[in-house]
Amino acid sequence: MRQVLVDRLALAAVALTLWVALELRLGPDILPGPLETGLRLLGLLADPAFQDEIASTLGAFALAALLAASLGLMLGAALGTLPRTSDLLEPFLVGFYALPKVTLYPTVLLLLGVGLDAKVAFGALHGIVPVALFTAGGIRGLPPILAKSARTLGLARVATVTRVLLPAALPEILAGLRIGLALTLLGTLIGEMFAARSGLGSVLMRAIPRLDNATVLSVTILFLAGALLVDWTLERATRRSAAGR
């Protein structure tokens, strides 16, 4: 554990050194250094208007994550338990997964308008498919004896899925959530960048034409921190769920 910490600190030091070296090479206008960026980030975090932008993004992400997780789970449970549905739908889902979803954004905007709904929907669109595919794969990989024994214990079809198959596939489901929610965060940001009046994505889009690269980097760092936090939480949950097995 301690060794990992030392290694990570070393890695962070190397990254910072590279950052400074690049700053010196490119000049502070193109790439502001760690010090300037850090000061800008602190300044922004103290600004109530910027805090509102963070809250707006967090709220949108929370809703999008909830949607992606619940719809993904339901879709995945259906795909995992109904073989014919899965043969029919999986090629489409894989295709949709590979599709750059920005191409769908004009349609989403026409449907939902510029605002919370659109960025939530766009974020969720990124996350549903990986959650569904991992859930379906997890359920399909389970030994048939689990469902069989549940039936002899008097569980009906739906109860077998919710009480036995989903808990049994939990490690795979969490792995799907790890990927799905990271993509949901990405989708939420992209949604804000293309059309939104609030949120960190729109802050980014306002900073870019002003060549305010310190702000751009500050937002990037915030996003990185958010993505790492989501990933870390789910990684821990995955490990805890696998602990007893």
């Binding site: 004896i145 069989k148 002899t152 214990l153 008097g154 109860a159 036995v164 808990p167 007893g244």
Partner: protein, 267 residues
Amino acid sequence: MEAHLRLEGVAKVFAASGRSAPVPALGPLDLEVRRGEFLSIVGPSGCGKSTLLDIAAGLLAPSAGRVSFEGREVRGATPPGLGVVFQQDASYPWLTVSENIGFGLRRRGLPAQAVADRVEEAIRLMGLSAFARAYPAQLSGGMRQRVCIARTLVTEPRLVLLDEPFAALDAQTRLLMGDELLKLWRRAGATIVLITHSLEEAALLSDRVLLMSARPGRIIETLATGWPSERSSDLLTDPRFAALTQRLWTALAPEARRALGLGSEAA
């Protein structure tokens, strides 16, 4: 007397898939289990024993024939009062031993305290007291199978179907588990149907032994053991046990050869 479990003309043919022809797996066979008896079904490997159990438990629809439990037809679901123990490890890895054992009970709407009491008693009976809070991954194969047996017995089934429940256990543990099963049977007064490939197990534990033919399995012989209900693995040294096992093997050997694809004159 009314049969506790009855199979009439039951057969199973697995449908053709791709280029392979339909596979007759079982029967047609008739079978009658008497209330309160300990019945074993022995047959060569691949004779359809497990298919028979799936059909009897309502997990698999027969291609022909009819199954009835306590006079009512079994169809599409395991009827209440019928418990099943499988050959494979069916313990739920995300639940502790006591949660596993209480799983079926909790679904029945019993008060929490009643569930806890019955689970605790079952844990004690199965010798799992030290592991009540352990997860299945921390247990040996034999202990996990005891968890599964307890999970079924704790619901107090009137008839228990066991499909090779001791197959994964070593010979000594098998004998001890057999004794435990006999004790539980005497105490609970339930009907027991044990599916096994072990002649010794069948000869030792049962009131009656049914012998099955090679695939597609049919009942070829029924033997009454004549043991008193107070019996145990002490019978291993009884000359009658050796004679009984010998009779079973004489009847079964040709079928076992056929199942392996050996000629009847091979030996």
